[in-house]
Symmetry: C2
Subunit: 209 residues, 2 copies
DNA sequence: CCAAAAGTGTTGTGCTTACACCCATGT
DNA sequence: ACATGGGTGTAAGCACAACACTTTTGG
């Protein structure tokens, strides 16, 4: 058949040292988003999960979600973009991919091949707005974390600074966002440790400034 | 090449007689969403616009936006779904398509072929939530409309009833949502006529009950 | 002793809700 | 006269922003 070439491309985001970063494969001329071409018998979500495993060496992403589809009118090619979240601190180096700070890639001028600049920008937009009304911020963190850790995720992704006390109050008040483990980071008086709760949506939302 | 068949499928929504309705082509065995298969040299958005013109006979949709992409693992086929809004009262009968009330199609059991039930449900979800934070409600209406007309759009899509006075106050208070034409529907004392303003986002949102 | 981070209290402010009420029209 | 739809007024409730203040840890 004279059909289209369909690829699944991943925007793998994480937070490191207070910055939002993307995972890009190494060793190519022009940096491009990681991905794979879609084969028969595989769902789109399945292909995305498989691609994630290929770039990171990790079993599963903290979050995996379809973003949008981009078509190349000339090349008879279609790219289905996914947003994937890499747990902070996870060892992603198995496959040689590297983390790049997003702010520098979103600067003026093309930094990635083809549509990838736009895809990255769309992914970051989606990520920023999803922090407002979902609990994906907590899925990025390890099993146990402090509210400060969670706040730093928000601050890094949004690129703003938030009031620690009001932030903590809000997060605690949302039913099922975080639940206390009862333990603390160090001795008594140290910040309390939480784990992610069952809720996935936040209502009302945690609005950005 | 042994590639994929890519189609662009449309969920064309509108409001009629206080109900949310979808436009479906006539004359087929199993009702299915209208669409077209993607050819070379056409962008996805372009193909969607073209498909819209084919089903409705109208030049352009009040709103056209990509929804998501659905893959069929076995058939080597990909469907890129779009949400399109048909202006209320527009004459769409040129191509013989018919409007069906959404509530009856969203009932239990499969009513449409393949993934189309799910696509329709996703489209309606998107539509409902977009009413909250964008001004697409106004794009559905004719050039001039009353706040009551706009309210009826919200009530029909959300399937609830809203307080007329609070609704009007909110809509007026959002900068650039509607602007007064100075004229009225009938003689003095009759409802004031508005046209859509330049704003496309609503902040803060108009939350549903 | 001091800086940094976490938790508690309080007050104001904006937005929304739920009312009650008025007005004009058209039947 | 009265039902209908549109517009105005107001008081209560909620959530959030912006403070100041205390406590504890770790250098």
């Amino acid at each position: 058949v004279n059909g289209f070439a369909v690829t699944v491309d991943l925007v793998v985001l994480t937070v490191r040292d207070g910055t939002l970063e993307v995972l890009l494969p190494q060793g190519q001329e022009n940096p491009a988003l990681p991905g794979m071409s879609l084969g028969t018998g595989l769902t789109l979500d399945g292909a995305a999960a498989h691609a994630f495993e290929s770039v990171t060496g990790l079993g599963a992403a903290a979050h995996l979600e379809q973003l949008a589809t981009y078509g190349d009118p000339d090349r008879q090619a279609i790219s289905v973009a996914y947003l994937a979240l890499l747990p902070v601190g996870a060892d992603h180096t198995a496959r040689g991919a590297e983390l790049y700070p997003v702010p520098s890639l979103l600067g003026p001028g093309p930094q990635l091949t083809l549509d990838d600049d736009r895809i990255l920008a769309d992914a970051v937009d989606r990520m920023r707005s999803k922090l407002e009304y979902t609990t994906i911020g907590a899925t990025l963190l390890p099993e146990e974390f402090t509210l400060g850790d969670l706040r730093r995720v928000y601050e890094s992704v949004w690129g703003v600074s938030l009031h620690h006390s009001n932030f903590a109050r809000k997060v605690r008040s949302v039913d099922g966002f975080v639940e206390p483990t009862g333990r603390r980071a160090a001795t008594s008086g140290a910040p309390e440790l939480f784990r992610k709760g069952p809720a996935s949506l936040m209502m009302p939302a945690l609005m950005r400034p």
